[in-house]
Symmetry: C2
Subunit: 456 residues, 2 copies
């Protein structure tokens, strides 16, 4: 694609590009602009019809939206910010540097400025921060016909018109909701409330965006109104905002589970210093935790000297505990996120993981025992005169470590949620580190029990 963006001397032909983009799909245009630097993207936007520029800037998939706004002439930037969805405009304004942000905000008309300021007041990742204020609301004493007439007039300036919110004419509180499909099926002279759902599903401005996503998904909604304590509609969260949210949260969850801080930008756009920051912190924390394994081994140095054969199985046993822990953690992170289990279910989960861990541990223990026997009998390796006891030590340790891994791995997300953290912060490396240290203790304790008087 890049080759058609540039002329032979490597300069972007903004004129040719703008003419091509004015006929294209918005989403494709966003992808093309994402390949340009912000100055070139701004130059192209300047040449496009305002309507297309607004649609492009409205897409959350556009990278560097705020840099593009910053690169535009002030006057154009103000026009585009005014025409854009207020929620996306707020997002862009938030990322601008202070002097430019104030300058642009001052240039906006009073209503737009107030709307953006209101949106910016809500904490990140809440319904209030991602909602749009461009929705359709009508008084409860209107007819179907009058409502339809109103929708025709405002259609172009609303993010969605498929859900219409009916307000009490006196208090302006939410009295009901009608879908457009029900509305057009109604008699023109009917009162709007005759078609409305009187108790629509609502959310609050401080609700977590993940909870809003769950609500929209559960009730198959196209939008959910954000209502304050008095019952006034502050805005709506639409289904396409929610899809973006879910995809973004999923990326964050996988990255956190992989043992790092979540990145905000696409992989190839995170610079080396940013990458080191996102990964180095956790890596160092895990490293410091894992240092306890060295301490544990130093503690058992005497045993190691007497029975060097035991060291051969350390990585095998420890990794098996980490693996079973990682499985249990992944299960519980999702089960908690989907509200399949609640905090109070922790003991039910523990009672399930205990037998699961014992059986899985016994399976691995059996394989481990067979391995020692086969290698010994075939003469591949000599585990010494007490090789049978060594085999049983390995098997028993595996049962203990895998069971501990399953139980600890499943309890960790509960513990994190209990103390107020996101259960999804329980990463696979974190669980592995936890299980590694304890796994070593289990292994050596089992060895002392079984091998005392022979090897130890």
């Amino acid at each position: 694609m890049t080759e058609i963006l540039e002329t032979t001397d490597g300069v972007v032909d903004t004129l040719a590009l703008a003419s091509r983009l004015s006929d294209g799909h918005v989403a494709d245009n966003v992808e093309i602009l994402n390949q340009l630097d912000s100055d070139d993207a701004a130059a192209v936007l300047l040449l496009l019809p305002v309507e297309m520029s607004v649609q492009i800037l409205d897409k959350p998939e556009l990278h560097r939206g705020s840099e593009i706004i910053a690169a535009l002439p002030r006057r154009t930037a103000i026009i585009l910010l005014t025409e854009m969805s207020a929620d996306v405009a707020a997002d862009i304004v938030q990322r601008l540097d202070a002097p430019l942000r104030d300058e642009l905000m001052d240039g906006l008309d009073r209503t737009t400025r107030a709307t953006i300021e209101n949106l910016l007041a809500y904490p990140e990742n809440t319904a209030g921060a991602i909602m749009t204020t461009e929705f359709v609301s009508v008084p409860a004493n209107w007819t179907v016909e009058r409502t339809l007439q109103h929708i025709r007039q405002v259609e172009r300036t609303r993010e969605t018109v498929y859900a219409i919110y009916v307000l009490d004419p006196a208090t302006r509180r939410l009295a009901g909701a009608v879908s457009l499909r029900r509305l057009i099926a109604g008699e023109p002279s009917d009162n709007i409330m005759s078609l409305a759902v009187a108790t629509p599903v609502t959310t609050t401005p401080l609700a977590d965006q993940e909870d809003v996503a769950r609500l929209i998904s559960k009730h198959d909604l196209l939008a959910v109104p954000v209502v304050d304590k008095a019952g006034h509609v502050l805005g709506i969260v639409t289904v396409d905002d929610i899809i973006d949210t879910i995809i973004e949260e999923n990326t964050e969850d996988v990255q956190k589970f992989g043992g790092m801080e979540a990145t905000d930008e696409p992989y190839l756009q995170v610079g080396l210093p940013g990458m080191i920051r996102k990964r180095g912190g956790w890596l160092c924390v895990l490293f410091l935790g894992e240092m306890l394994t060295a301490s544990a081994m130093q503690h058992f140095e005497g045993e190691l000297e007497k029975a060097l054969v035991l060291t051969l199985f350390i990585p095998l046993i420890m990794s098996s505990g980490g693996n079973s822990g990682s499985q249990a953690t992944s299960l519980l992170i999702r089960a908690l996120a989907l509200r399949e289990v609640k905090l109070g279910d922790w003991w039910r989960v523990a009672l399930r993981e205990l037998p699961t861990g014992l059986i899985l541990g016994a399976m691995l223990g059996a394989i481990g025992l067979v391995r020692v026997m086969v290698w010994q009998k075939l003469g591949i390796f000599d585990y010494g005169e007490h090789w049978v006891l060594v085999g049983f030590t390995v098997a028993a340790a595996l049962i203990g470590v895998v069971t501990f891994g399953s139980v600890a791995g499943s309890m960790l997300p509960f513990l994190l949620q209990r103390v107020g953290f996101d259960p999804a912060s329980a990463s696979a490396p974190f669980v592995a580190t936890l299980v590694d240290v304890t796994g070593l203790m289990i292994y050596f304790s089992v060895a002392l029990l079984i091998l005392r008087g022979t090897l130890l």
Copy 2:
């Protein structure tokens, strides 16, 4: 909640429950029915208005839909299957046992049966398998008014009416698409094509559902038409089907990344045998792979005997490699899933991971070196007369292992995609196992290099 579902003798009061459910939100009713066994749930459904029962069965969140259908009288089951969304009905029919499935299918009217059979013919997780055939299409020579009239008539039997597909009257091929909001804003006498987008975004029946999700998210669509090679619309995939799909895929991705097979059911509903099956397979495979660490250590037994101090750092060094690998894998799984990087970008990624790994490894190496020095100087532990060399061995091994982990962890998803697997099959335990075995080799090689002539 359970207490109000049962009378004092533990029997579910279906009558009281049905009367309560007939006033409730569909999604809440689904949650209540999910707590009953399928016989009780069927008894409650029998007492509900058909319309509510259909809405409940239509919800993908309902567990055991097919068991409930099986527990209903044949006649009721057939009525409900006929009234349900064809895509969900097909899903339920698919899970029934053969004799009952045939009996119910024979009872359906010809059109419904044909529709369900068509849907069942598509492979799982494709657009064809999740699409609904209940959409609105009109010939291109209709006016806005006639189209609106048609929508009013069919509204109740269509999954969505917010996207209207315009067909060529002669060939019945897709000629355009109109959104309902544009339609109601149009003049009644206008031709429908004057409002239509002539080249709507479409997908094919065999497209992967994840690609369809990406398409809907990218273009902010409420539905995408599934079109065959000739240009006929076979069905549509709606945004709420896609949200369910994305959430389900998220769960699968996290579970697979945790090193297990994805579960189809909520955590507490997977039985012990099912749990062992989903987890035991991978755990055994990983165990067999990890056995190579024992082989590697047996190979270096001579070195271990001479320098027992080296064993103390084995868990620390190996886990650090696994952790950096897990980070890199989580980054690349998501980057590939979101199409932020393509298969051909592998070398760009490798060139980024190499310096990232070197820097991260150097950070950990420095901490490791300091640890050895501090413990030695403070007299906490005696690493022997060559403790400085031991410290440098640990540091150098950490640089090598962490770099290898970053590069290998980032390349694994590419490799899997290249050979036709889902890149998300690259689990954290899988990467850890890969890095563990190689990490040992790196550690001992570095040790041989640095300590030859002193300890070794």
